[in-house]
């Protein structure tokens, strides 16, 4: 077998490999990836490894962190182990956050792609619809939806998706409007491809890089939403989450700072790592920044 690529020519790399190389060079983004992976691993394996029930009373209430080796991060107002709460609470926050981000992206891409692709009256109507959703204060609207349809992981997920999609829709619309003018789309039209095929098989793959970056940021936003809603007591009342821990311990913050500080740091680190990864992906996908 003969090798057609000569020794001196650069090895061909895919867009993915190239992006990964740029991403790895971004120290902050790499750190974000490491932190997020750690958090995901702790949430997935932690409950089994740690073995303390987050819902039951294990010691006296309000034990400060570092004073009792059985409850290293202290206990809350009910004597529940804060560390166990952090480990289990991550599951709901991450699960709802990423599921809600998925719902957000699906609604946003559907609306934005249709508006951008068809233009004209379709665009006008859909953009008015989007503007209407931007007028409603998102958190309040989500609170109303959850209160009316009773809180559960599912309603919280959909409520966040329903209020958070407009930005994704605007971005998708802009990308579709730009890309639909390009030659390869005209080429696809000339071979009589259907609209659906052009939208999802031709334009969407080319619009993906900015959409992936924005989807990463949407995950951060959704996690903050979930935390805010649980803090207000509108999460699933039977499922431990970081926001719920802060909300439940709020009356005692002056007696037990640790009960709210650690769950907050967990939310902060998660969203921070997600947004650093988003920045890194932005660099990786942006050809203008490649040559730096």
């Amino acid at each position: 077998m003969t090798n057609h690529v000569s020794e001196n020519s650069p090895k061909p790399v895919s867009i993915g490999q190239d992006a990964w190389k740029v991403f790895r060079r971004n120290k902050a983004a790499s750190a974000g990836l490491v932190v997020l992976t750690t958090i995901l691993l702790i949430s997935a394996l932690g409950p089994t490894l740690y073995g303390v029930d987050a819902y039951s009373m294990v010691a006296a209430p309000f034990i400060p962190p570092g004073t009792d080796s059985t409850v290293i991060l202290g206990t809350d107002f009910l004597g529940r182990d804060i560390a166990a709460g952090l480990i289990v609470g991550g599951q709901a926050t991450l699960l709802v956050g990423s599921a809600a981000a998925l719902v957000t992206v699906i609604i946003g891409v559907l609306v934005g792609a249709t508006a951008g692709f068809y233009g004209g009256n379709v665009d006008e109507v859909l953009m008015r619809f989007t503007e209407f959703f931007q007028v409603l204060p998102a958190l309040l609207f989500a609170m109303v939806l959850i209160a009316l349809f009773s809180p559960s992981l599912l309603t919280v997920t959909f409520a966040i998706g329903v209020v958070a999609w407009p930005q994704t829709a605007r971005l998708t619309r802009a990308e579709f409007m730009k890309i639909k003018q390009l030659e390869y789309v005209t080429a696809a039209r000339s071979i009589a491809s259907t609209d659906r095929r052009i939208m999802w098989m031709v334009i969407l793959p080319n619009a993906l890089p900015p959409l992936i970056v924005s989807a990463t940021l949407v995950v951060g936003v959704a996690i903050l939403f979930e935390a805010g809603l649980s803090f207000l007591g509108l999460g699933d009342p039977n499922v431990m989450s970081w926001g719920l821990m802060i909300g439940a311990n709020r009356p005692y913050i002056l007696d037990a700072w640790w009960t709210v500080t650690f769950p907050g740091i967990s939310i902060f680190l998660t969203v921070l790592s997600v947004s650093l990864i988003g920045d890194g992906l932005n660099d990786a996908f942006n050809p203008k920044l490649r040559e730096r």
């Binding site: 209407f132 409603l136 204060p137 609170m143 009316l148 803090f231 207000l232 002056l254 907050g264 921070l272």
Partner: protein, 327 residues
Amino acid sequence: MNIAFAIARRVFYAVLLVLAVVVLNFLLIHLAPGDPAEVMAGEMGGVTEEILHDIRVSYGLDKPLLTQLWIYMKSVMQGDLGQSFYFNTPVAGLILSRLGPTILLVVTALVFSVFIGTTLGVLASRKPDGFASAVITVLALVGYSAPVFWTGIMLIITFAWLIPIFPISGMATFGSTGGLFAQTLDVFHHLVLPAISLAFIYVAQYSRITRASMLEVLGADYIRTARAKGLPETVVVYKHALRNAMLPVITLAGLQFGNLISGAVLVETVFNWPGLGTLAFDSILARDYPTVLGLLLISSIVVVIANLLTDICYRLADPRIQTSHKV
């Protein structure tokens, strides 16, 4: 198209948006599981069969859906947002009595974040690798990632408990006496921590956008002209450049108003600030739906008005828009 016509069109459009929110509320009442009359009465208000009957009659709940919508819209347009059986008072009055504190909080946070944000942004644009730029980068990361309610709680723990220089919660010292001046000062003392918590995210956003827009404007021809005719650098930067660089900031500030109100719901709950946010929290816990839906409507109206004002401000601030419309 002159400016008056453009504004009139915007006002008309704003009214349509508000009507759409009314329709949304109506849909929510009917989509929610259970009897619409019970939704309109709220769950925990000691509602009797008589009250439910009254609601059914006054909102025509036995009539066709479109007739019901018409009756509902008519009563809302007349300022009747229903009765809160939990707070035992008409919803419209209840919400209006809480509007002031929220506007005070939101506007203070907005002014604070725009002021600090643009100042940092201008400083950073003049020295892109300087201290201000580093501050902006850190603020942007922390501001975006820290949940606003947690920032508020951390501020309480730090500045009301560890270093007790600010009050823990509320809007005024209970039973405080003194003149108008002393009372105003007291309210502002209570306002500091909630306003900072709410403004925190936006300081970073406004400084980033100011920096970007200043860097762009400072390269424009008219800035070179201003410098060439010997104007002092401060006049060039603050009078010529900043006015033009402020336009994206104004746009963003207007668009952020809805987010500010969302943030206010959380911040008010943390600080027991007696505004719409704490009312939303209390009424949702009590499943007091008329108040909850009224809040959604009133806060949307606030956002619509804020967007309108932004649009007008934008037209006044941008000299190009003014002249091009006069021609």
